[in-house]
Symmetry: C2
Amino acid sequence: MALIVQKYGGTSVGTPERIKNVAQRVAKFKMLGHQVVVVLSAMSGETNRLIALAKEVQPNPDLREMDVLLSTGEQVTIALLSMALMELGLKARSYTGSQVKIVTDNAHTKARILDIEEGNIRADLDAGYVVVVAGFQGVDEKGSITTLGRGGSDTTGVALAAALKADECQIYTDVDGVYTTDPRVVPEARRLKTITFEEMLEMASLGSKVLQIRSVEFAGKYKVKLRVLSSFDDEGEGTLITFEEEDNMEQAIISGIAFNRDEAKITVLGVPDRPGIAYQILGPIGEANIDVDIILQNVGADGTTDFTFTVHRNEYKKALEVLKGVQAHIGAREVSGDDHIAKVSVIGVGMRSHAGIASTMFRTLAEEGINIQMISTSEIKISVVIDEKYMELAVRVLHKAFNLEQAA
Amino acid sequence: MALIVQKYGGTSVGTPERIKNVAQRVAKFKMLGHQVVVVLSAMSGETNRLIALAKEVQPNPDLREMDVLLSTGEQVTIALLSMALMELGLKARSYTGSQVKIVTDNAHTKARILDIEEGNIRADLDAGYVVVVAGFQGVDEKGSITTLGRGGSDTTGVALAAALKADECQIYTDVDGVYTTDPRVVPEARRLKTITFEEMLEMASLGSKVLQIRSVEFAGKYKVKLRVLSSFDDEGEGTLITFEEEDNMEQAIISGIAFNRDEAKITVLGVPDRPGIAYQILGPIGEANIDVDIILQNVGADGTTDFTFTVHRNEYKKALEVLKGVQAHIGAREVSGDDHIAKVSVIGVGMRSHAGIASTMFRTLAEEGINIQMISTSEIKISVVIDEKYMELAVRVLHKAFNLEQAA
């Protein structure tokens, strides 16, 4: 007998019919003798409907009240699933975030979980109940309802699995696992049976949308065994996220290729090469609350230096304005930018022990005439910034160059 | 400065536009220097939508989960109204029933309020907030969400007014007050400026739908000053429900005429006239959980008696079956019934000190050829049961006979 936490997203509970299907699946696990905790999102579309209602009465809605409003979405689905489970003859009981309680800080609409009081849930599980918990929501110490932000239901699932010391946390979604890359770009993309936690973290932060990054971080911190599965496929075993680099033949050097076009590049040319210049450039950016991703600095021969960094594309215009405002002060010759870039990354724990990954990557792109504008590396990933128009091509040729279509 | 509790029904908060109108009205009271607590229902139609969803997954839905589901309706409106109030520059804060907390018993879908912890609300009011509370819902001692049943938002409003010792509890609805009778039946019906609590209780129990009877009982028990107003009319002063029979010229002998066709009549003919026969007839009815309203017994000359009573029309068939099952045992000659009856009542505290009300009523009906089947009286009302087809006629002629179209 195992204790399993299952999290179902909005598409999986989007209609009464689908809720009944989820109940069937839960019943299957229960019949096998497992204890099951289910974490649910709101019905797909419901959160957007509620946000639209809010904006009709307050264009810039108050965040505390936004959480009161949005938390109704999961409250509806947990009641409906509990009913569907009872209709199948199971014992079931729903809990809102406040009822569990899932204690968070008071950062409304993006709260962080501080503690979970798991006593009632454990008692219900021991009494044979399926426990159905509202994802995405919690309660602050004053009793106000909070929400964890978009994708927060994954975090609820992982946090509950950690608190209950569950044997596995299963994230049911509309894809059947983690792929070597997005199959819409590379039809040969292959589902991974396993991926390490570190790789998953890079995949999530570099643009793979399968799991929300905070839930992966949480799983890493509390060593929760995570599995990504499709809620529309009864047979699949999905992708298991592991913590050890298992020493087996399955382990590939490269696990996957992530990409995104969320970023824009800003270049400051011909600034005097003196100590503190990086701070003079990035200080005003930070003060404007703009996050910076990749940073590059090239020292020129004439005592000046060129400075390049990337920001989220939504903040491109704001960042350019900030820098043009300080251009004279820092003595830069020119401030320019490009918001038609893409970031493509190869990821794999295997590259720690294998040289030559970077050169294969750079050679493959060069053979296609794709110019690399920026490079950034970590122990288990290499990212390049290229012209946006080559993004899909780059992903396809790299997928082939690293033989990702074949199981290692 | 007064402390006012305002309750708005589902029609009044049915759209974002109407919610903004409610915010304007609340702002007006706030600007006059009053402290305001607002109690809201769900948007009209929302409760029915949620019930339909529930029945799709569980035809006979679990009551605990039903309450989890239904309570989301008011949670949506309290968040939206709080936002709308803030948009007008007011300080506002929402509370669900659990957050207040409004402690109830655990009779899900028809819970009764046991206690209200009003400390947080009072602190918010003193800090200048408009407090917006979800009607219709509470929380039991284990922390499960409960609901008070249809119309329960009125009860929440009155209970809060009692707990906070509010100066007035204003019930906003889609009519502008309590009328001498339903204006759809008698166009000359007149809005009452005041009505006594006892009269209102009779009006509510005898078919007037303006206020839910439990909320009137609650108001009576805790001496809450209630006012019924229209949420679509800014100028009206509605109807005030008072506790004293004020000794002024305004006080009429008869305040209003109530009517309903919710009942059916059952007659047991020719039962032996012996002690205990009433119990032998009504015992089985009570065991079948059927409520009885009017009861009449006529003793005949031949040592038998005829026994007549009314039940809710929905339970007519069931009641007939029960009695036919025991007919032989109690020795009745015949069990018959009629589900085409109506009850018409004249109500007024003035009849305590005025004779002749009954004779005026009976003469007026006789002049129209309307046969009276049953009569039931209390200190302040006289009800008659007549053939359903004469109901509107009876209401019209009685309204005229008692001069109700003219202010007293």
